[in-house]
Amino acid sequence: MKMIKLLWLSGITCNANTHSFLNYPFIEQFLNDFEFIYHPVLDSSYTLQEIVSNEIECDVLLIEGSISPEFQRADVSIEDIIRKYAPKVQKIVTVGTCATFGGIFSQSDYKDVTGLHFDKEQKNQKFENLFDKTISISGCPIHPEILVNTLYAIKGDIALRLDNFLRPKEFYAYTVHNGCVRNEYFEYKVDAHQFGELEGCMFYDHGCQAPFTHASCNKILWNEVNSKTRVGLPCFGCTEPTFPKANLFTTKKNMGVPENLPLGVGKRVYLTLAGITKAFKIPRLEKKLLDD
């Protein structure tokens, strides 16, 4: 099979997607199947200087980091680099929440910082002609397996079903809540969560956004071992256009009801369910998990 040529282009970024990618367990296999014409850390066929001053053949353009008309890489505007390579490549992948939605650095001092196609939820007109060839892998940072397997899907010509933000549904149709080991505390509304404990659900008081965040963090574990919510850290919704929201460790409530409810669950349904579950008393969930 043909070696797929990748260009990894960095916008305004912290490089965490680059390093999260390096956590892919079968990286050697990956590097046998794909060639980086440029990567910000790995040896690549060309230097950045050569990439920006020539037109090198390339199949997939990977963009990490947010985009601003002011931002330059090797003295060339990031938008010009994108305009040069994007029409020629087969696919574009926005790698991470910054490249997809603007992310955290949309608050930086640069002018008009956005993702490639989205400014938070709003669709951008600027690169509209590239919309149909783009796949978004959101996340701050991306999960390495999700990026890598998407690239293999591109290589294998597999048609991916995408959501409205161009994210592959196979990874983003789930919520972070799916597979969380603290699920039962959520379901039965045992709302006494304390940090530093195996028990409890962070949704009720501590800002956890897992029930309304599209991602597979508890299905495809991080570093193959864990997830934030499993250890007791709230989900901050880092795959979503709204990341980062404010007051991330607190659940915003109106009259005692969380402002953001689980996806697809209306307030009335939520209150009815909460009423029923409150009637239960489940001793197993009231005590410490490992105690007698």
């Binding site: 390093h19 090797a74 991080w222 980062p244």
Partner: protein, 419 residues
Amino acid sequence: MIKLIEKIEGEAKLNFSFKDEKIDFVTIEFMSTRNIENILKGKHALDALVINPRVCGICGHAHLIATVQALEDCYEDLKISNKAKIIRELTLNFELIQNHFKWFYLTLLPLFGHKQQVLKATYPSQLMAKAIALFGGQYPHTSYTIVGGVVCEPTEMDIIKLNHYIDETIRFFENNLVKTDSNSFLLSDKIDKFLEYEGDLITILQQIKEDDMLALGKSYDRFISFGENSYFKKAKSIKTKVNDSVSIEYVKESDIPSSFAKSVTFKENYYEVGPLARAMINKAALVKDSHRKYGDSIFSRILARVCETSQLLAHSKKLLERLDLSEPSYINPNVDISKINGSGTSAVEAARGSLIHKVELQNGIIQNYEIITPTQWNLSGGTKKKQGVSQKAMIGLSDTKTAELVFKTFDVCSVCTTH
């Protein structure tokens, strides 16, 4: 002559001027900044725990630890369990270790004409990332340590798993970097004898010797370190003379006209930070012997970074023995952070050296935030009369390729510098 230095977590421009075919002066320019300090203004204090790891994708965990300690410093009387302190120290160690492996196999090898060894970089660094994820849920970009402790409650099973990750990383080190058991390695105190071993580190060090590069990269021979924990000390070392009376109040940041990075000095002087500085302050025997013979050259700098990897692995094992799982992971602060008015400062040792955070809070809202990163120390740009540490290390070299090598022995992190 301007040279674009690539693959340093971003890029920098070095502008060399030559006199008599030798580098006479060099300016260092970073071309961008994200101004994270501004992003933090007006935010809820705890949100800094989520924002600040995003300063850097390779050493963001150090920024997390620095953030939590700066916030805790705003309190007058905050209790943190020993257990939480140890866990924080462990995960920070793991991040340092993964950085050092990546630097050696991805950055350093190509500078000596070898191919990058991607798998040798990623295998141990993935193990260390797993070790962080055991406590933090994921790596990079966890925010698992919060004001009052850590959010996780590790079990005995987690510790068994963790020991496997550490042991496997130690084994990797022993099979690749220096082919001997870690105990004999850690006891080595004579550099000439040490070079009789085999391994990837030894290959590079021998190459430096054979290629007559032993004198390269010397700077002021002046070191400083502000982070304190069970392994690192707060002190400075002028040549080999260690003095522990250093205070952050004498650290000063100033603008560099040609660059987005800021210079940083201690009592108006530039200091080197990082593994060589820490080894000099800790009087690490092998590094000291190398320093005695070859000074603060690239030889000692490379040796120190790799030695620290092994030392931190061994120290982490010791720390784990002190971990008492029955202690609380988290102690609810007696005052809610939304009632806190005050300022806090922290210093931690990150992979590349001392990282300083300063925060001012009013009713738990961030009024001001300052970050001073390790690379700023080493890459501070001075004038011809008063050069920065890495500037001085490049003066007198005859070509820009060697200068790039010297520059990269400081393990430059562009994203941190342009926070």
